[in-house]
Subunit: 188 residues, 2 copies
């Protein structure tokens, strides 16, 4: 799989302490003390819940946008990024019935999803995982993982508020906001 | 899964008789007498090989193209469609590293993939299955299933020849051409 598949398991173990699980739209997720993030699709037997997603090719960005993203973004795992968020979302059947040009127009020309994300780089690092075509039914379509320093929490909340008020978000019918903190013993 | 996942198994059983398996680019597939096409991901224990794919949202067509396709195409399972083909292909890493606009430009503006397919409707019915984001590693990126009447075999070969000579096909690094015939006892 070239390491493209990841499993996010909420339960009693994992490197990340769960600081909050907030249902934003639709059904939430059961509470969990910790989150384990692991490559591959193995399910932890003791997990309260387990979400899988796979990184994939770009679906919307153009070449100039991709170059700008690549020039500005930083990778995951920065020592100062002791805060993280996992935001699973599901989009409506109406979204998936749109054609590519219609989805792009809503996502970027109307909602500025890519441009808004760029404004928060490199502070907010991000990795997008797709769930919809995994083969087994999944409760969400996307899992987005974010990492940032505690001082950038307000900026991160602002980024989410902008996206959630965009036309694109009228197609989101389930969203959960999971906040996480890395233990000092692990982050050094 | 809303019935989006399908398994194509080559072996000793199945409704379709295999009339030929031709490697077009790269490694072929082992020979098989029959092909079983089944919804879901269950693997037949006795199969010589098994390929899985999932139907998904449109990746390239615009609204006018989708409307034109919908107006002209006919479904699978037509009684006269006693011929079928399964064409698994894999695209190169270079293809997947392209941005959406670059892939669309190669697929349609340079290769006329959608317009070429339209010319052969409704004679050649088609269903596209995606494999690349299934979660478990797959030998191909796409499985395309075609159905047509024996009298349209020449037209089908012409369609393939046009696509294979297009710029898009320079990004195909594995392709196998599997031809099939439905038993008269099954087709009535």
């Amino acid at each position: 799989m070239d390491g493209r598949l990841f499993t996010f398991a909420g339960g009693g173990i994992g490197a990340w302490k769960v600081t909050g699980i907030t249902p934003v739209t639709g059904e939430g997720l059961p509470s969990a003390e910790r989150l384990d993030v692991a490559p591959g699709g193995a399910v932890l037997p003791a997990a309260a819940w387990s979400l899988k997603g796979i990184t994939s090719n770009e679906r919307y960005v153009t070449r100039p946008e991709k170059s700008e993203l690549a020039a500005r973004q930083e990778g995951l795992g920065r020592p100062a990024s002791t805060c993280a968020a996992l935001i699973p979302i599901r989009k409506t059947a109406a979204w998936w019935a749109l054609t590519q040009d219609e989805r792009r127009a809503i996502l970027e020309e109307k909602s500025r999803h890519i441009q808004v994300g760029l404004r928060y780089l490199p502070a907010i690092a991000r990795r997008l995982h797709h769930c919809r075509d995994l083969g087994e039914p999944q409760p969400f379509d996307f899992l987005t993982w974010f990492e940032f320093s505690p001082g950038d929490t307000t900026a991160f909340d602002e980024l989410l508020a902008v996206l959630r008020s965009s036309p694109e978000w009228s197609y989101v019918d389930r969203e959960v906001d999971i906040r996480l903190a890395r233990d000092s013993r692990i982050s050094g």
